[in-house]
């Protein structure tokens, strides 16, 4: 153990779908402000792990605790309120809403004051500080230009950024990003990497990044782990794990 307890501590998570073992005894620790990369072949169980951590799936066994507190029984909205935010590999946006409204609803959800009586007293209108937060996030993720566009009119890459902004709006302590760069080109991926790095450093958001673009992973993460067939096969710095011959064979192919 380090000098402090991990922010997220998941131990021996296992889950299976029918006869398929999707995760076998996987343990993950993430420390405050740290960024962890998870790489692995397709179907290794990365997204499944995310789903187990954020409460969308119930693992068969294993335990998850966050900030020192067990969260195994909590539904996903309670976990979100504790400070776990995520983005989705298959984008999940609210098609009828504009980008602005996406961030606004996240801002509201963070404050957690969805009280009916407040609405009925007309206290539900956007407040100045909320507007400022939203504006700031819009410019941080670079979506100010399209703030008033409904997301159904955005390209795939923009939708990813909307998801990222929406997650960051929660001011999470842990951000889990599932392939945030897909749909962006090389240059935009670089900008995104810088953004993630900035958020992690300046706002001390801990991060778990799942990504197949290794350049991006290398730029963003402090530490990496490799999943294969639901098992953790290597852990260490990205350079270390990528030097592992097993990983090279199963994941990198000749691109290494």
């Amino acid at each position: 153990m380090g000098d402090h307890a991990p922010l997220l501590d998941a131990r021996s998570i296992s889950i299976h779908f029918g006869g398929l073992r999707a995760l076998a005894e996987v343990s993950v620790q993430v420390y405050e402000g740290e960024s962890l990369g998870i790489v692995g072949p397709n179907g290794a169980g990365k997204t499944t792990l995310f789903n187990c951590l954020c409460g969308q799936l119930r693992p068969d066994n294993g335990s998850v605790s966050f900030a020192g507190r067990p969260i195994d029984g909590l539904p996903s909205y309670r976990r979100a309120r504790l400070g776990i935010a995520r983005t989705f590999q298959r984008i999940e946006v609210f098609p009828e809403m504009t980008v602005f409204e996406h961030l606004m609803v996240a801002e509201r959800a963070r404050r957690g004051d969805g009280r009916l009586w407040k609405d009925l007293l007309n206290l539900g209108r956007p407040r100045r500080d909320e507007l400022e937060n939203v504006e700031e996030m819009l410019s941080l993720v670079g979506l100010s230009d399209v703030a008033m566009t409904p997301v159904a009119a955005l390209s795939l890459g923009h939708c990813r950024l909307v998801e990222l902004g929406r997650a960051l709006m929660l001011q999470p302590r842990l951000l889990m990003a599932d392939e945030p760069s897909s749909g962006l080109d090389t240059r935009e991926t670089q900008v995104l990497g810088d953004l993630l790095r900035y958020v992690q450093r300046e706002r001390s958001v801990a991060m778990i990044l799942v990504e197949h673009d290794l350049d991006m992973v290398a730029r963003v993460v402090d530490r990496a782990m490799v999943l294969d067939f639901g098992e953790m096969v290597a852990e260490g710095t990205l350079r270390e794990v990528m030097a592992n011959p097993e990983v090279r064979r199963a994941y990198l192919g000749r691109g290494a």
């Binding site: 969308q56 946006v93 609405d119 159904a152």
Partner: protein
């Protein structure tokens, strides 16, 4: 044992009726993606045509069958596809259910309009006379209808199973259901496949109709109860089959038929079990199956992978309004309101005052639909039940405790809200189609059981909800009642608007878009759903009490489940997303009924037909006709204003036109919008 068989055997041909409906529902759902509540109505149409040809025009059976089942039925299916379901985006399950509701309402109402009312003296049959007993099974006589129903049902199911087993049709249809565009990329002529699926499903409906014609009066419009039993049992069997397996649907249907026959005969007649328990059993079974069958959870999960090809839905009309129009419209509205109240209090004839008051009361009830369907995107089919709860509570409280009607309405609203909360908790794990079906089951249950008790809506005289009075102020006259109702309506509208604009409204919009993502933001889906159900039920309850007060004595038939369907269809047609939509729906509903009452009685159902056809436009304009027209009108005015600006440079706002050229992501101005 043998007496058990005596009861069970007649259950088989009886259950075949359920089975045919269930198989039809499953087949239609799989092949077209629509849970076609109108399946029974389609069956009824073919049965009617068959009967007409066979009994009145004296065609022989094969010819009548050929026209009714092999021509009319597939023709109807093709027409439905061509004019209706083709236009519904894959993702919109609300649109699909609403359209089928529209048909369910329209088809039976349309038949007497087209063919005139007819009483049936003799009943035709398709094959083997129902009046001949062919043999005995044990001691049970088996007549021609029993044989025909059983044999043909089994034959049809076998043919369907063979078709899906040995051809690619099943897979292709499912692919088309999931995404027309993706299947087109595979070279599949999606329109033709969908049309074929509808023709097939509709033919099956026609066949069932003609078959059941001789079996019982299940599809007789004069006997709606029999049809309801059929509907509930059919949905139950389809749910047992997870909307998936045709063979399970068959077995489920037959099983339910046998079960019902056996239960009816074994339970002591006149006991509490037979009078209280038995009628509610089908609903309990249906709700349990809907909620407990885990495989039903996944029936709607695949959204169209190519949805990103669709342009976004149009923005709300107000947001495209030229800012200069705001002030004139506001003042225009105020002046209109004052003029309206003044007219009502002075010169408007009495019967029209009553109609307008009715319209206002309907508007209050319809706001509840705005809340639940417009805001949360869930389709509830039990709003009339909530209204009934409010009305009967207010009436009984006034009757027994002498409580003032306004207080009674409030209590009724609260009680309805309470029931709404219970219902919301029950359905908290499901959404979409399943939720809709549970609310439908609840509505039919209330209609047939709950409201029949003498302490609720039952009894011969009905329930009298008096007109309200506040201290010495009486609202007994229609004119004053109207003004009071108007005040209440304004208050309710305000509440709805506040919720819509506030946090809860935002949460609901998020849930509508993606429940998973909403939860990942920390939004508690269950409690949000409970809140919206409670508010919606409460509004309906208050509106129901007012309705009772307006109408005078009311009975359970005033809140029949069919009314729930009609109301939902009406509101969705005019526009469920805005409060104005609800008000316009309410007024139109009342006024249209009055206008049509001047027409010959043959056209009685025309109102329903008109609204049902209106619902068919929902596919193209999910925002509602009113909202659509408003957007068009505002766009036109904006264009005129822009033209005026162009001729008088330097005055007014900068024109929006041309923004589309510079930034491709920004919406082009309303000018392009109306050209495109």
């Amino acid at each position: 044992m043998s007496s058990f068989l005596d009861y069970a055997i007649p259950g088989i041909p009886y259950g075949c009726g359920f089975a045919l409906l269930a198989v039809g529902l499953v087949l239609t759902f799989r092949a077209t993606g629509v849970f076609n509540l109108a399946f029974g109505a389609q069956a009824f149409l073919s049965a009617f045509v068959f009967d007409l040809l066979n009994q009145y025009a004296h065609w022989d059976q094969p010819a009548s069958f050929a026209l009714a089942v092999l021509v009319v039925a597939p023709g109807l299916g093709l027409a439905l596809d061509r004019f209706l379901f083709r236009h519904i985006p894959t993702a919109s399950s609300t649109a699909k259910v609403v359209s089928s509701l529209g048909l369910l309402v329209a088809i039976p109402e349309m038949i007497p309009i087209i063919f005139g009312g007819r009483t049936r003296h003799r009943i035709g049959y398709l094959w083997l006379s129902p009046n001949l007993v062919y043999f005995h099974l044990g001691s049970t006589p088996v007549n021609g209808a029993d044989i025909a129903t059983t044999v043909i049902t089994l034959g049809v199911v076998a043919a369907l199973l063979a078709m899906f087993r040995w051809s690619a049709a099943g897979v292709t249809m499912r692919a088309v259901v999931e995404s027309r565009r993706l299947s087109q990329l595979e070279g599949v002529n999606a329109s033709r496949v969908a049309a074929g699926a509808w023709a097939l499903s509709s033919t099956l409906a026609g066949l069932s109709g003609v078959l059941l014609l001789s079996q019982s009066n299940s599809i007789d419009p004069t006997n709606p109860l029999a049809f309801t039993t059929l509907l509930v049992a059919g949905i139950t069997a389809a749910a047992l089959a997870s909307m998936e397996s045709i063979s399970v649907a068959l077995l489920g249907g037959i099983g339910l038929g046998v079960l019902e026959n056996v239960l009816v005969k074994y339970l002591p007649p006149g006991s509490v079990l037979a009078t209280g328990f038995l009628p509610s059993l089908p609903f309990a079974v249906l709700v349990i199956v809907l909620l407990a069958n885990p495989r039903l959870r996944h029936i709607e999960q695949s959204s169209d992978p190519m949805a990103s090809v669709d342009p976004p839905p149009p923005p709300p009309a107000v947001s495209t309004r030229d800012p200069r129009l705001a002030a004139p419209m506001k003042w225009g509205f105020r002046i209109l309101m004052v003029a309206f109240v003044a007219s009502v209090l002075t010169w408007v004839p009495g019967n029209w005052v009553f109609v307008l008051a009715q319209g206002i009361v309907f508007s209050v009830i319809f706001l509840s639909v705005t809340m639940i369907t417009g805001m949360s995107g869930q389709l509830s089919l039990c709003q009339a039940t909530f209204a009934g709860i409010g009305a009967f509570t207010a009436g009984r409280l006034a009757e027994h405790l002498g409580l003032s009607v306004l207080a009674g309405a409030l209590v009724g609203g609260l009680l309805a809200a309470l029931v709404g909360i219970v219902l919301a908790v029950v359905v908290s794990r499901v959404s979409g189609l399943l939720l809709t079906l549970v609310t439908l089951a609840f509505a039919i249950f209330a209609d047939n059981v709950l409201f029949q008790f003498s302490w609720s809506g039952g009894g011969i005289t009905g329930v009298d909800v008096p007109r309200p009075a506040i201290g010495p102020l009486s609202f007994a006259s229609d004119r004053y009642f109207l003004v009071l109702a108007l005040v209440i309506l304004a208050f309710c509208m305000l509440l709805v608007v506040l919720v819509q604009r506030g946090t809860v409204g935002r949460y609901l919009a998020a849930m509508r878009g993606s429940p998973g993502a909403a939860a990942s933001l920390g939004i508690n889906l269950t409690s949000t759903k409970v809140v919206v159900f409670a508010m919606s039920a409460g509004l309906a309850g208050i509106g129901g009490a007012l309705y009772g007060s307006a109408e005078g004595p009311i009975a359970s038939t005033d809140f029949s489940y069919v009314l729930s369907l009609v109301w939902v269809v009406v509101v969705i047609t005019t526009g469920a997303t805005t409060v104005e939509g609800a008000v316009q729906a309410g007024m139109a509903f009342a006024v249209l009924a009055q206008v049509l009452s001047y027409l010959p009685s043959r056209l009685d159902g025309l109102e329903f037909v008109m609204f049902a056809f209106g619902a068919l436009t929902y596919a193209k304009h999910p925002e509602g006709i009113v909202e659509y027209q408003k957007a068009r009108w505002l766009a036109r005015v904006s264009r005129l204003l822009a033209a005026w600006d162009a001729r008088h440079p330097g005055s007014g706002q900068p024109s929006l036109a041309g923004s589309g050229e510079t930034a491709s992501a920004a919406p082009a101005g309303s000018v392009e919008l109306s050209n495109g």
